[in-house]
C-alpha cells in the first residue's frame, strides 16, 4: 500500500500510457482510431492553452499555431521534398519562432488587450493562408505526402499509412509534449509563471525579468501546437483554411477550461479528450448539436466548476465531509 502511495504519480503515468497503447487494439474500428487521434491533437492544444494561461494570458488564437505548423510542414514536403518526419520538427520550430517574435513584442501587454491581440493574430494568419496563392488560397493544399516508411532496427521497414500507425506517431508526440509541459509546470519555472499574473511588479522586484518567462511559456506551448499541426497535415493529407476559424480557438479554450487549471498536462489531456469524444458522438446524432453543446458546457463549467474537472474530486471530498 505504501509503495502505491509513494509512487502514485509514476503508476498513474505508466497506467495512462498502457491504456493509450492498448486503446486502438481494443477499438480497432478506423473511425474510432480517427477519433482518438482527434483527442490527442486537441489535448496537445489544450495543454498549450493552459500553459499560456499560467502567465495570465487567455489565448484566443491557439489554432493559428496549428495552422503555421501544418502549412510549414506541408509546403516543406511538397515544394522541397523534405521528409514529413523532419517536417514535424520544422512545423514546430516555425510555430515557435513566430511565437517568439510575437511574444517579445506583445507579451508586455496585459489582460484583455492581450487576448484580443492573439485573436487578431489568428485571424491574420487565417486570412494570409486563405488569400495567398503560395499557401493554396481558399482551396487549401491537397495531396500532402503521408509519413514515409522508416527503417527501424530490429523491426525492419515499418510503413505508416494506416490510421493505427499514425495513432502511435501521435501518441509519441503527445507523450513528449505532455511530459515536457508537466515537468515545466511542476518545477520552479511553473511557479514563476504562476507568480506573474498575481503580482508582476513584485516578481520583477525580486529579481526576474517577467517578459523572459512569459516568452518561454508562450513559445513552448506554440512549439507543440505547431508539431501537432504538422502531424495533422501529413495524417489527413489535405489542409484547408476553413478549419482554422476563430471558433476552433474558442473550442481549445473550452477544452482547457473543462479539463482544469490544477495541472497543465492532466487538465489538457482530460479536457481535450473528453470534449472530442462527446463531440464525435454528437456528430453522429446531429451535427447541429456540437456548438450548442460547447456553449452549454462552458456556461455550466464557469458557474459550477470554475477550476475544471480536476477540481471535482476535491469538491466531492468537501461535500462528503460536510454530510
Amino acid at each position: 500500500m505504501s509503495f502505491i502511495k509513494r509512487n502514485l504519480r509514476g503508476l498513474v503515468f505508466i497506467g495512462l500510457i498502457l491504456i493509450f497503447i492498448l486503446l486502438p487494439l481494443i477499438f480497432p474500428n478506423p473511425a474510432r482510431i480517427g477519433m482518438f487521434i482527434g483527442c490527442g491533437v486537441a489535448s496537445i492544444l489544450a495543454m498549450g492553452w493552459l500553459m499560456i494561461l499560467r502567465i495570465g494570458c487567455l489565448s484566443l488564437g491557439q489554432v493559428a499555431f496549428l495552422a503555421i505548423g501544418g502549412y510549414t510542414s506541408a509546403l516543406l514536403a511538397q515544394k522541397a521534398g523534405i521528409s514529413p518526419w523532419i517536417g514535424l520538427l520544422g512545423g514546430g520550430m516555425a510555430s515557435g519562432l513566430v511565437a517568439l517574435g510575437l511574444g517579445v513584442v506583445f507579451l508586455k501587454v496585459r489582460g484583455l488587450s492581450l487576448s484580443i491581440i492573439t485573436f487578431a493574430f489568428a485571424e491574420v494568419v487565417r486570412l494570409i493562408i486563405s488569400t495567398l496563392e503560395f499557401f493554396g488560397g481558399h482551396g487549401g493544399i491537397m495531396e500532402i505526402p503521408k509519413f514515409n516508411p522508416l527503417l527501424i532496427p530490429g523491426w525492419g521497414i515499418v510503413r505508416f499509412d494506416t490510421p493505427l500507425s499514425c495513432y502511435y506517431i501521435l501518441l509519441l508526440i503527445l507523450m513528449i509534449s505532455g511530459l515536457f509541459m508537466w515537468r515545466m509546470d511542476r518545477s520552479a519555472l511553473g511557479r514563476t509563471f504562476m507568480s506573474l499574473p498575481q503580482n508582476e511588479n513584485l516578481a520583477q522586484s525580486l529579481g526576474i525579468h517577467p517578459l523572459r518567462y512569459k516568452v518561454i511559456s508562450f513559445v513552448t506551448a506554440c512549439f507543440f501546437a505547431g508539431v501537432a499541426g504538422a502531424f495533422t497535415a501529413h495524417y489527413y493529407g489535405v489542409l484547408y483554411p476553413g478549419s482554422y476559424i476563430p471558433m476552433q480557438s474558442i473550442i481549445v479554450q473550452i477544452q482547457g477550461t473543462v479539463g482544469g487549471v490544477a495541472s497543465v498536462a492532466l487538465g489538457g489531456l482530460l479536457g481535450g479528450s473528453l470534449m472530442v469524444m462527446v463531440e464525435s458522438w454528437l456528430l453522429n446524432v446531429d451535427a447541429r448539436w456540437v456548438y450548442i453543446f460547447y456553449g452549454a458546457v462552458i456556461l455550466a463549467v464557469t458557474f459550477m466548476l470554475p477550476e475544471g474537472l480536476l477540481s471535482l474530486p476535491r469538491k466531492i471530498k468537501k461535500l462528503y465531509k460536510k454530510a
Binding site: 515536457f180 515537468r183 515545466m184 518545477s187 520552479a188 519555472l189 511557479r191 514563476t192 504562476m194 507568480s195 498575481q198 503580482n199 511588479n201 513584485l202 516578481a203 520583477q204 522586484s205 525580486l206 529579481g207 526576474i208 525579468h209 518561454i216
Partner: protein
C-alpha cells in the same frame, strides 16, 4: 564612500516636477527614514531607485556603480530589493509558497537545468523549503504557513512582504510604508522586527513612512522631502525640532494625530 548615493536626482512628469535635485547618501548598516507630506515625491524616489521609473536627471550609485537605466530585476540582483506600498505579495500562494517563490525568483535557475532536474535540483528544493520555514519561524508566521497569503491578517501580510525581501539576501532593503494601516501593536511588532533585521542580519534599510512615532523610534537619520525638494536631513532629535519641518509637516493637526498613535 556611501553604500548608496543618490546624486542630483530630478524627475519631471510632463512639466510637473516631482523631484528636484535630491541628494541622499545611505551609509552601510544604517536605517534611513524618508518622510514628507502626501505627494512630496517619496514613492517616486523609491520607484526611481528600484528602477521602475528613470530619473530625468541625476545619478544613482550603488557600491560606486551607476544603476540608472538598469531594469528593476537587474537592480534587485545587485542587492537592492524593495517592498511595496499596501500589500505586496502573491495572494493565491500559501505563505510558505510566497517565500519559496521569493527564493526562486532571486536565485533564478537555468531553463534546461530546471527541466532536466539534474544534479543539485532536488537538494536545492529542500534547502529552499527549510530556509523559508526558518524565516517564517523567526517572524512567528509558521502556524500560518499553509494558509493562502490573501487570507491572513493585514499585519501578517505586511510582515510576509518584508520576509520575502529578506529571502533574497539583498544588502539594502527599501521599505515603502511598512507600518501603514497597522494597529499600534502590529506597528510596534514591525518596528522591533526592522530593528532586529538590522542588528542580526546586518542589512541597510531605507524606509518611507507616515507614522512619526515609528520613524522617530527606529531611524538613525531622517530625510525630509516637500514638493520634490529636500528640506532637511539629520538625526531624529534634530528633525523633530527643525522649524522648517514643523511648519511643513509636523505642525498640521493631522500630523499631530499621526504622532499620537
Amino acid at each position: 564612500m556611501a553604500l548608496l548615493e543618490i546624486k542630483q536626482v530630478s524627475r519631471n512628469f510632463k512639466g510637473l516636477t516631482a523631484l528636484s535635485k535630491i541628494d541622499i547618501d545611505v551609509q552601510e548598516g544604517e536605517i534611513l527614514g524618508i518622510i514628507g507630506p502626501n505627494g512630496a515625491g517619496k514613492t517616486t524616489l523609491f520607484n526611481i531607485i528600484s528602477g521602475f521609473l528613470s530619473p530625468t536627471h541625476g545619478e544613482i550609485r550603488f557600491r560606486g556603480k551607476n544603476i540608472v537605466g538598469l531594469r528593476p530585476d537587474m537592480i534587485a540582483r545587485k542587492g537592492l530589493v524593495r517592498s511595496f506600498q499596501g500589500v505586496g505579495l502573491f495572494p493565491m500562494a500559501t505563505c510558505l509558497g510566497n517565500l519559496i517563490l521569493a527564493h526562486h525568483l532571486y536565485q533564478e535557475i537555468g531553463f534546461w537545468k530546471t527541466m532536466a532536474h539534474t544534479g543539485s535540483y532536488g537538494a536545492r528544493e529542500k534547502e529552499v523549503k527549510a530556509k523559508s520555514l526558518a524565516i517564517l519561524k523567526t517572524l512567528n508566521l509558521d502556524d500560518k504557513k499553509d494558509m493562502a497569503a490573501k487570507d491572513i491578517p493585514y499585519g501578517y501580510q505586511k510582515m510576509l512582504g518584508i520576509a520575502m525581501a529578506l529571502a533574497t539576501d539583498a544588502q539594502v532593503l527599501l521599505l515603502d510604508e511598512p507600518v501603514a494601516g497597522m494597529n499600534p501593536p502590529e506597528a510596534l511588532a514591525m518596528t522591533q522586527e526592522i530593528k532586529r533585521i538590522r542588528a542580526e542580519l546586518k542589512k541597510t534599510i531605507v524606509l518611507v513612512e507616515h507614522n512619526m512615532k515609528m520613524v522617530m523610534g527606529v531611524c538613525d537619520r531622517i530625510v525630509v522631502i516637500q514638493y520634490g525638494l529636500k528640506i532637511a536631513e539629520g538625526p531624529p532629535e534634530l528633525i523633530r525640532n527643525d522649524p522648517q519641518v514643523i511648519k511643513a509637516y509636523l505642525g498640521t493637526a493631522e500630523a499631530y494625530h499621526d504622532t499620537s498613535n
